[in-house]
Symmetry: C2
Subunit: 234 residues, 2 copies
């Protein structure tokens, strides 16, 4: 909150662009930390920690607004094609990270609802799915930091694993709900939490596609796959 | 698919910008039509029509790619601040519409799973929620077409109504599942379909915020509200 005496000095395009990447990575790491914390509070059944995660989400939203603002400023400088790709990708990646943060906060919020019922064995499966997705998120942020399209591509490929895991957990939860009506409300929360994780995986994939786009340009961008195999869970 | 002999002629910035808005509206109206059709196939239990909706989603995705491409081209011309707002808003709105299309297609897909079980009375509530959301979507597209920030603001305000309706439907479905274990699988689909509609409402709100941003600039953009009151459904 201190006033910066040199704020009016015009920075070079490269400096501003670096600052933008830095903000984006900071935002991404905050979202990853939020996800990790959310998975942790589900395990520990810690309502106070869950409330902190929900409150922290505002910081990610504020960073997204900052990124959008910086993108505006950079675009007004009339960037070259490669630079423009970078700032357009930044805008999209920021939106994906913002959604990831929302999903992590929503998981934390749902965990407090879950804590009003006795513990369920399925939180272990949820945690395993969460760790898988968290690894994806961290790897795609590293790929962005390193401008590494191949690493991004590997993250994208690993999304099938997330979907398979999610579908298995989904069916398990449905079976459990049929066996015990008292489990329906908590299991519904777990269903939505699992869906949140699957969606975070999709957003990690989006980020991976934007890293690819950043490095290779629009024409090489592979088509986006459709997911959500639970629509018809057999 | 015919080759346009005059495609190489450089169009004016305004012409290109108008083309962009036109594409976006076309994309939005396709998504609205997809949503309307999805609500309809749920009612009529029409698997063949549902499959067509799923297939149609590709056209919306293709339009999003086109919009992104046009945004790139426009940004490279070094636009003025007001114009830049327009193209950044277009990029965000295109992403929102693309997601709305995905949700509509997902509803259609889930409807075919629903059709393997006997009809449920709750599809009526789902349809009512869907009509509410469809009205929001159409109104926000009109607000975008007319550059009408006040109309956009009204759409944003109406989102509370959607959330209240959604929460009611959510609780009703949970109660029903507890009463009849055979209803659990179809009701889970209805839960996710209701969630899809609530999310479409959120995206309509995002579009409304972008219309506001387009007209009034970044500073006047009101903070985004957090939604999803079902996390703790009482």
């Amino acid at each position: 909150m201190s006033t910066q005496p040199h704020d009016h000095i015009v920075r070079s395009y490269d400096e501003e662009s670096q600052r933008l990447s830095g903000e984006l990575l900071r935002m991404g790491r905050m979202a990853a930390a939020q996800l990790e914390a959310a998975l942790d509070v589900v395990d520990r059944r810690d309502d106070a920690a869950a409330a902190r995660i929900v409150a922290n989400d505002e910081a990610i939203d504020a960073l997204e607004a900052e990124v959008s603002h910086d993108v505006m400023k950079l675009a007004l400088r009339g960037p070259l094609a490669r630079d423009l790709r970078g700032i357009l990708a930044a805008l999209r990646i920021a939106a994906d990270i913002e959604r990831i943060g929302d999903y992590a906060a929503n998981m934390a919020k749902r965990s407090t609802a879950l804590n009003t019922a006795p513990p369920l064995p399925h939180t272990r499966g949820l945690n395993a799915l969460g760790q898988l997705v968290l690894r994806q998120l961290r790897e795609v942020l590293d790929a962005y930091a390193a401008d590494d399209a191949d690493a991004a591509q590997r993250v994208r490929d690993s999304d099938a694993e997330v979907d398979t895991f999610y579908t298995g957990l989904f069916r398990e939860l449905l079976t459990y709900m049929m066996e015990d009506a008292r489990a329906i409300t908590p299991c519904t929360h777990l269903l939505f939490m699992a869906k949140n994780l699957e969606r975070i995986g999709d957003h990690a994939t989006n980020i991976a596609e934007n890293v690819w786009f950043l490095v290779h340009g629009a024409d090489a961008l592979p088509p986006r796959e459709k997911r959500d195999t639970t629509s018809v869970p057999g």
